[in-house]
Symmetry: C2
Subunit: 109 residues, 2 copies
DNA sequence: TTTCGATAGGTAGCTAGACGACATGTAGGC
DNA sequence: GCCTACATGTCGTCTAGCTACCTATCGAAA
């Protein structure tokens, strides 16, 4: 599945996976991949600009470290990022219920 | 709610409302407004280009008429539009279940 | 030793689609 | 005459995701 299908909700997904624990870009990509059972496979040209944008907006804070000789930039959710995530989750529930009502919610919601 | 939140799924919504009965642009706008309980309010700069695109792609067919002295362009779903709608509905169910699984489906989801 | 896959981070240029602002016109009520 | 609802449309702008490309480390395989 392309992130294009998630348009406008990708930020929420990223914020959601770093909510549980701070993660670096590659780790976020893997977390989304596994949590979606393989459905989400973000190209780096989508992920990294998104992370930088979210940091610029103040929702994430990053720090560099070196693990196993490789440099990592680890992102953690800020206070305002946590609030943003809650708002985005609310947006998502509204959006999905509206679209679901028109398209037919299908099996079990 | 902005159509931006529906990105990539707006076409499906339009095809869905004209599936039941042929409608003109303004009527489609009203149908989406009422079916979403007021949540969707499409600007004309979003709706009309979308309709022309869907017609160009062969999913809709239009015809002009005059009702009460006003000109209407009425759109109806084509055979291929019907197939496209089914495909888009399927996409939506997949997308919403993936996002729901990560964000939390909310109450009883 | 070189090559390859996994890990790790990044940019540049392109494109689709939604947006706000604007343009045009009819009909009916005040 | 003016306003609101009805009705259709364009134009230039902006967001955000995409493809393609680049750099670099590490361990295993050839």
């Amino acid at each position: 599945m392309k992130a294009d299908a998630l348009r406008g909700h990708l930020d929420a997904l990223i914020l959601a996976v770093v909510e549980d624990e701070p993660l670096h870009g590659y780790g976020i990509s893997e977390a989304l991949h596994s949590r979606s059972e393989g459905a989400i496979d973000l190209p780096t040209g989508t992920l990294y600009p998104a992370l930088r944008r979210l940091e610029r907006l103040g929702y994430l804070r990053s720090s560099w470290s070196t693990v196993g000789g490789r440099k990592r930039r680890t992102y953690q959710l800020t206070r305002s990022g946590r609030a943003e995530l809650a708002a985005r989750q609310h947006d998502w529930h509204q959006t999905s219920s509206v679209i679901g009502a028109i398209l037919g919610t299908g099996p079990a919601g």
